[in-house]
């Protein structure tokens, strides 16, 4: 890894704007992206500090997911820059991005993220195995994570045999197993009812805080966003940071 973001940077306790002394971990600024004729992002910026949980809100179609994809190096923006440590994600090669996503980031989506043929424990172990860890060790760690998220009972089942809430908790385990510095969660509760949604978001935020991972949480549900430390609103492809206004 060439970037030099200090792993030892003190994370803010749990809430509030981080102290000025701490360097932001991930900075997206002036991001623009269009798909065909549709302008998804016009001028979006977001700074993410180590360990903080930022909710990205906004009406559907406002560009929330695109912002997340740009920040995570999944989509290359047409303009702007995404700084992660010393690295500008908009400039590094595809394979470098892949490496980065595998080792530094974790992902959580609304649905359809678990490989249907693999058992839950294999799904959770996947990111470690992609990193070259042996199957046995990866799966042992995966079982620990499943226990932590209270879904050890589905370890041997396939995602199709799990309930939505269980599946999403398995996905949380998978997002966190590599101990990422940033977790990108795109509507993680979108397909769940209130109770299950709350359980998932609570487990995600608790686990992220415990492992000092920062979280970019895209959601349109205020109650979910309430688990974050601050909010960023995206409207018509532009961000409005509400953190300072409150």
């Amino acid at each position: 890894m060439t970037h030099s973001t200090p792993r030892t940077a003190p994370a803010p306790e749990s809430t509030g704007t981080p102290e000025d002394a701490v360097e932001p971990l991930l900075v997206g600024s002036g991001l623009r992206k269009s798909f065909g004729l549709t302008q998804a992002l016009e001028d979006a910026s977001l700074s993410l500090y180590p360990g903080e949980i930022v909710a990205v809100m906004g009406p559907s179609g406002s560009g929330k997911s695109t912002l997340l994809h740009c920040l995570a190096g999944i989509v290359r923006p047409d303009g702007g820059r995404v700084g992660y440590g010393d690295t500008d994600l908009t400039e590094v090669s595809d394979s470098r991005l892949s490496d980065l996503r595998r080792t530094e980031f974790g992902f959580l989506f609304q649905f359809g993220q678990l490989v249907p043929e693999l058992s839950c424990v294999e799904n959770v172990a996947l990111p470690l195995r992609l990193g070259g860890e042996s199957r046995r060790r990866a799966e042992r760690t995966a079982v620990d994570w499943l226990e932590r998220l209270d879904v050890a009972e589905v370890a041997g089942k396939t995602p199709g045999e799990c309930s939505g809430g269980q599946g999403q908790r398995v996905a949380v385990a998978r997002a966190l197993i590599t101990r990422p510095r940033v977790v990108f969660a795109d509507e993680p509760t979108g397909a769940l009812d209130s109770l299950n949604g709350e359980r998932v978001i609570r487990m995600l935020t608790d686990a992220a805080r415990e492992s000092r991972a920062a979280v970019v949480l895209v959601t349109h549900e205020p109650r979910v966003a309430a688990y974050a430390d601050r909010e960023v609103v995206v409207r018509d492809g532009r961000t409005r940071d509400l953190g300072g206004l409150a």
Partner: protein, 786 residues
């Protein structure tokens, strides 16, 4: 309330249940209005149906082909329909002698003819009997003679062409045939006189064989088409699922959605039928250029009046069956379509039963020594049954090998799990491969009998064969009979000029009868020749030799008698007694000895005028001299067009059989190509279905090569498995048949290797073609579509 007032039954009456046909029609309309995917699916379906239709039409033409061949063969029957005793010569009689020969292994149908009057019978396809020195050629032979590299053949047919044999007189466009006019033809040297050509077409004995081989072939070849269709109708399945769900929500019941889904393929099927007719009509003229045996005329390939229309009825049902099969295990509900996760286990037992039944049929057919060709239907049915039975083993094998496999790289694990879970798709394609490849290998082995018939192996080397039939002191190997040796001619000299011919001996012979009716052969040659023909004492011109008991010099022998030639008296010259056998060719020898032969020098034996004096040539040739055989044939043809010389061979293969083998292999390759197309379509569709998983995996940082490798494994593994299974089963079936017929077990290895190689090629090709869409799904943008 007005709603209450209406009787519940009335509502139902107003909306009569849509009929089966209406559902189909609705589906058809829906498909016409679909987007790009539907159009693509319609085109794919049409292609599959088109190929199937064309193949079936071709198969439906087989009876016509056989009937036409049989008719044409009957129309030109000649010696078979000749009267015996021969009728007297007249205005309407034709003399002919058989002159069937071969050029470089290709048989030539030949007749030497002489019209005895102004109204001779004409062979079919010939408008005039050629006069002396004139020849009528088949187009194929004419073409062969045009080519400069066949100069030696040109010398053999150095006559004036006066016409071509029409199609009605040939078995096919590639038949080599000629009718050569000859003024010296007599009933005695020709042997045949007829007043008309043609007889009743006999029951063509090969028909059931060809029909059944055709049936096996068609079914083996249709399997890949079904595989392709299966993949085609699944194309764009997601979209269709959504559409069907919407229909369910609007009140269509399960049966209706099924019918509507089936109806969606109808435009494709209709288009496919039209395409099939097009393919057939376009492909039909091509049969004329296929040089298998005599080939076929375009007109021969006409679908049977009953079977042809049947194809048009059967193909839509085949397509419907495939569509409904593709919906098996799919539950269309108003809110979505569920593919049942747990695989419905294919009923193993009946397929295994099928396999056992097939093998027992084969064994039985061989054990019961059935008359004629009755074994063919049993073997064919047995073969098909065992082939389809074999496919039962596949899911089990997949499950065994892939279901619980662990270890290996991640890409392999992903692929194995996918295979284990997906069941249907890949296995179906592999089923096609198994049936095709195993079928082709088994058929190749089944034909091994025929190959063995077509390949006669007499010895390791040609020299050995020549050495085997050496006779006489100089070691002659070859003999040919000439119908006449004109006085003063030097046949031996002409032949001796041929390169590779080392020694030639010529003699004349006449058969005579003594007073008491016993036959005596009179052989006339010069002294050096005579001394090679028997163990003689001193010889000088004017000498004669014999050991016939009671033969008196000065006595009279009647010699040279025939059907139309009266024997002439010949005075026995002074002769010296000798004893012992005459030297004879080991194949043609009749066991003549001094006791029934007179050997005379020309000076001693002036044979009477007016009788036919045939001659014989003995030759010693160097088999390794290149082109010797054809040159020799040409030299002899110049002496006597009706003369034939048997050229020995160490092993001979009838080219037709080789071509049939090639055709079988080519057919298997074509079938594999169709399977490859089906595999590509199926794989692409699968990749599209999984684009979300791929996008997520990419987001996770999965490397490209991991996913590519996983897809590669996914296609290569089942194909490998299928080919391995097919090779084993095909060879086992072939070996079984060979053992049962008591033949040494042998395989046509090069062809097997070609087929297996092609199968591997299919796997690699499929992966390569599936790569671009795969890479597309791997763009993380795939996450956007939810």
């Amino acid at each position: 309330m007005s709603l209450r007032e209406r009787a519940p039954g009335k509502v139902r009456q107003e909306r009569a249940r849509p009929s089966f046909l209406k559902d189909l029609w609705l589906g058809a309309q829906l498909s016409v209005r679909g987007g790009r995917e539907v159009v693509l699916r319609t085109l794919l379906t049409a292609t599959g149906v088109g190929v199937a239709t064309a193949a079936l039409l071709l198969a439906a033409a087989l009876p016509t082909v056989m009937a036409h061949l049989n008719e044409r063969s009957a129309d030109r029957l000649d010696y078979q329909v000749a009267e015996y005793p021969p009728p007297p010569a007249g205005e309407d009689t034709l003399l002919f002698s058989l002159a069937d020969t071969a050029y470089e292994g290709n048989p030539i149908h030949g007749r030497i003819v002489r019209a005895e009057g102004s109204d001779p019978p004409l062979p079919p396809g010939v408008s005039e009997i050629p006069g002396p020195g004139e020849i009528v050629l088949s187009p194929a032979l004419a073409e062969l003679l045009e080519e400069p590299e066949n100069e030696v053949l040109q010398r053999r047919f150095d006559h004036t062409p006066v016409g071509e044999i029409g199609p009605e007189g040939l078995m096919g466009p590639h038949e080599l045939a000629f009718y050569l006019g000859d003024g010296e033809l007599t009933l005695d040297n020709a042997g045949n006189r007829i007043t008309g050509y043609g007889g009743e077409p006999g029951p063509s004995g090969d028909e059931p064989v060809i029909m059944l081989l055709g049936a096996v072939g068609v079914i083996v070849m249709l399997t890949p088409v079904v595989v392709f269709l299966g993949a085609a109708v699944r194309f764009g399945g997601e979209q269709r699922d959504r559409r069907l769900s919407a229909l369910r929500l609007m009140g269509a019941d399960r049966g209706a959605t099924r019918r509507i889904a089936a109806g969606e393929t109808l435009p494709g099927v209709a288009l496919g039928l039209a395409l099939g007719v097009g393919f057939f009509l376009l492909g039909r003229p091509i049969v004329e250029s296929v040089p298998i045996s005599s080939g076929l005329y375009t007109a021969d390939v006409t679908p049977h009046p009953v079977l042809g229309p049947l194809v048009f009825a059967a193909v839509p049902f085949l397509a419907l069956w495939v569509v409904l099969g593709s919906l098996r295990g799919v539950v269309v509900d108003p809110l979505g379509t569920v593919r049942r996760a747990e695989r419905t286990r294919p009923r193993l037992w009946w397929r295994l039963l099928l396999f056992v039944l097939g093998v027992s049929l084969i064994v039985l057919s061989m054990r019961l020594s059935l008359a004629g060709n009755q074994w063919v239907p049993m073997v064919s049915v047995g073969l098909l049954a065992s082939l389809f039975g074999t496919t039962a083993v596949l899911p089990w094998l997949v499950d065994r090998l892939f279901g619980r496999a662990s270890g290996g790289p991640l890409s392999l694990q992903l692929a194995l799990r996918r295979l284990g879970a997906a069941g249907g798709g890949p296995t179906r394609a592999v089923n096609g491969i198994v049936v095709t490849v195993a079928g082709a290998i088994a058929l190749l082995s089944l034909f091994a009998n025929a190959w063995d018939d077509s390949t006669v192996e007499l010895a390791e080397t040609i020299e050995e064969v020549y050495a085997d039939q050496e006779f006489g002191a100089p070691g002659f190997q070859l003999q040919t009979d000439l119908r006449s040796v004109p006085v003063g001619s030097d046949p031996a000299g002409a032949v001796a000029e041929v390169r590779g011919v080392e020694e030639v001996l010529a003699y004349s012979r006449v058969d005579g009868v003594t007073d008491d009716g016993s036959g005596i052969r009179v052989l006339v040659a010069d002294c050096p020749s005579l001394r090679l023909m028997a163990d003689l004492p001193e010889c000088s011109p004017g000498d004669a030799f014999s050991g016939v008991p009671g033969l008196e010099p000065g006595g009279t022998l009647m010699v040279g008698g025939g059907d139309e030639v009266n024997a002439a008296p010949w005075t026995v010259p002074e002769f010296t007694e000798f004893d012992g056998p005459l030297v004879e060719h080991p194949w043609y020898g009749l066991g003549h000895t001094a006791k029934d032969a007179v050997l005379a020098t020309p000076e001693a034996a002036a044979l009477p005028e007016g009788i036919a004096v045939p001659g014989t040539l003995w030759m010693r040739a160097d088999p390794s001299a290149s082109g010797m055989a054809e040159e020799l044939k040409a030299a002899i043809a110049a002496l006597d067009p009706t003369a034939r010389v048997e050229i020995p061979f160490a092993s001979a293969t009838i080219p037709t059989m080789i071509r049939m083998r090639d055709a079988l292999t080519a057919g298997a390759l074509a079938a594999l190509t169709v399977i490859a197309a089906g595999l590509v379509v199926g794989t692409v569709e699968q990749i599209r279905e999984r684009r979300r998983v791929h996008a997520v995996l990419t987001a996770f940082g999965t490397r490209r090569r991991t996913l590519v490798a996983s897809v590669l494994w996914q296609t290569v593994l089942p194909v490998l498995l299928g080919i391995a299974l097919a090779t084993v089963v095909g060879m086992a079936l072939g070996a079984l048949i060979q053992r049962l017929v008591g033949l040494p077990v042998a395989f046509v290895l090069p062809d097997i290797l070609i087929i297996v190689g092609a199968g591997l090629g299919v796997a690699v090709l499929t992966t390569l073609l599936a790569l671009p869409p795969l890479l597309r799904t791997m763009r993380p943008e795939g996450l956007r579509w939810e």
